[in-house]
Symmetry: C2
Subunit: 345 residues, 2 copies
Amino acid sequence: MKKYTIKDIAELAGVSKGTVDRVIHKRGKVSQKALDKVTKILGEIDYRPNPIARNLKNNKVYQIYVVLPDPKEDNFWAPCVEGVIQAIEEFKSFLVDIKLFFYKPTSTASFKEINKKVLELGPDAVLLSPLFHKESISAVNNYRSAGIVVSTFNSQIVLEEAINYVGLDLYQSGRVAAKLMHTIVPDTHDIVICHFDETLNNAIHMQQKEKGFRDYFSELNGVDYTILTLSVDQTNPDLSLVNFLKSQDKAFGFFVTTSKSYNLVEILQGQRQKNIKVIGYDLLDENIDLLKKDMISFLIHQSPRTQTYLGLTYLIEHFLFNKEIPNKKLLPIGIVNSENLITYL
Amino acid sequence: MKKYTIKDIAELAGVSKGTVDRVIHKRGKVSQKALDKVTKILGEIDYRPNPIARNLKNNKVYQIYVVLPDPKEDNFWAPCVEGVIQAIEEFKSFLVDIKLFFYKPTSTASFKEINKKVLELGPDAVLLSPLFHKESISAVNNYRSAGIVVSTFNSQIVLEEAINYVGLDLYQSGRVAAKLMHTIVPDTHDIVICHFDETLNNAIHMQQKEKGFRDYFSELNGVDYTILTLSVDQTNPDLSLVNFLKSQDKAFGFFVTTSKSYNLVEILQGQRQKNIKVIGYDLLDENIDLLKKDMISFLIHQSPRTQTYLGLTYLIEHFLFNKEIPNKKLLPIGIVNSENLITYL
DNA sequence: ACAAAAAATGTGCTCGAACACACAAAAAAA
DNA sequence: TTTTTTTGTGTGTTCGAGCACATTTTTTGT
């Protein structure tokens, strides 16, 4: 499998490399005769420009900025930062400059402000966690008008034109949780879906997960579970939750749609019969601890670290080597128990 | 974060780029004075040679050969070939040449023959599936004496010097299966470990998995399961298996240590009570079918496709960009049920 | 002191693509 | 026909590292 260069083509076509260049890039003036000669050769061989030579000539430092919630505000985002750091480390020698920008996950104003700032700095690409749907669409459009490539991770947003996304199919993850619940909870017992988030700013996430969860059970024949939904936010503090849980004597399986399973387990502790089953999301330290103690049966892993790492490598390799960015990269939905846990850390 | 070039260093140190080159590569003669000047600058700045320029100058087509069992003989290996094809596709434009070599998974002679052939061809690197332990060690040593880089995948072999490995921790995967079994099978029931392989050439694999499985249960306190082991090979055909299973009335959970779960389910079908639980390995079409029908509870995913893909990218990026090859890359042990199945395909 | 050898250092070319620029050939205008 | 413009084509430089070769400086031997 011979690798052809522009010079090779020039010789084969009996023209100079300048002419070949003009034909390939459709720039400048080329006579019909020369065009024919070169396109003939181009059709006969499989010419792929050497991405390394191209990049060397380019000699540009690409600016890629990552916009995500501050992990100090919500620990869920800490692994995302690790993924970014890993990418920085791995591409240190290359002409890329990766910078992190944090916003407050509880504040749309902060989100807008940071995106404005990033837009002004004018990077080549932005990897964005589009937590707030409306504001994200506007931010993405602004970036695009400025010719900035945008990729998203963790939550999908809907736009007319497709946008690059790395993350989970959240609806499907709800179905996965349901299947697990179905496997471990006898069908005479009740199930509670808990939307456990202090600010409810993960609303879209939680809805998609709930839908997947409920769809699974409603598609089952001959089995009827009772499934309740419980939303907890700032206007609905722990006390009311405790009261609710007390009143639901039969509830047996709990599906927590956020990373706050540990919060639920804490409240349930001692409160009810020991034999309840909890399925939740994310490998936070608090959750890991309870998973090991069998107080959480399964955790669904959203691979936050992989999301940012992959999102970044796609962008970097696009700029450096002209690789195509996959439009939609859905990561495997990881089912984690106490034994395969370490293989995910 | 400025990126320095050799020319930059030469100017800063007041010498020519030739001298800087000699200092960096410790070749040729350099005066103490010049050495000091250059090392001083080198200590002050963070110089990283541009891997792209280096590779361009190199201008060598790296030969990387993949040696694995013929997927026509055992379908387990088909995804491995897909992983190789994906890597070929992705690095088409680069100066790498990836070739596939198949051996018969039932024949050590074939394994030796193929490795001899590959050794004679003298590639730059070999990605090897070391199915036969003794023969693999000898093959790896031969490659190394010839200065060929070797990486392995799917099964780990033990050597004095470390060898690159991409794959699962098989012992741990046995523990994962045990934990799952523990979650879905009441402790009054018996469990059978099935080593289901026509030729028993996966002996090491199966032993590691069994050990992990048994260790998990023996570490449990206050619960005693009865765990039986059943080996099936050519000298022990289906009939004897059927007889065995008939005699074990209490057996309830089955752990199949190979990808042949479908074989077990086929035999069990109609033979015994319906409510048995099977946990096995690998997303073969036959297994997937049974997983969807709930006749297999969980499949453990060994990510064969990812194993070869990753193993290859490590080698390629090592040659092209001087990246370090991770000595041991243990992939997450994927727990697969009917709902997260599609996210693994 | 002077030539020869050895040591130290600088210069220049290569890799492949990209692109500026110079120059030639053909076509249009004088 | 000559001049000017348009169109077409080839040459040469750049990017950074690597390495061969040329050149300069120092050391050694007589």
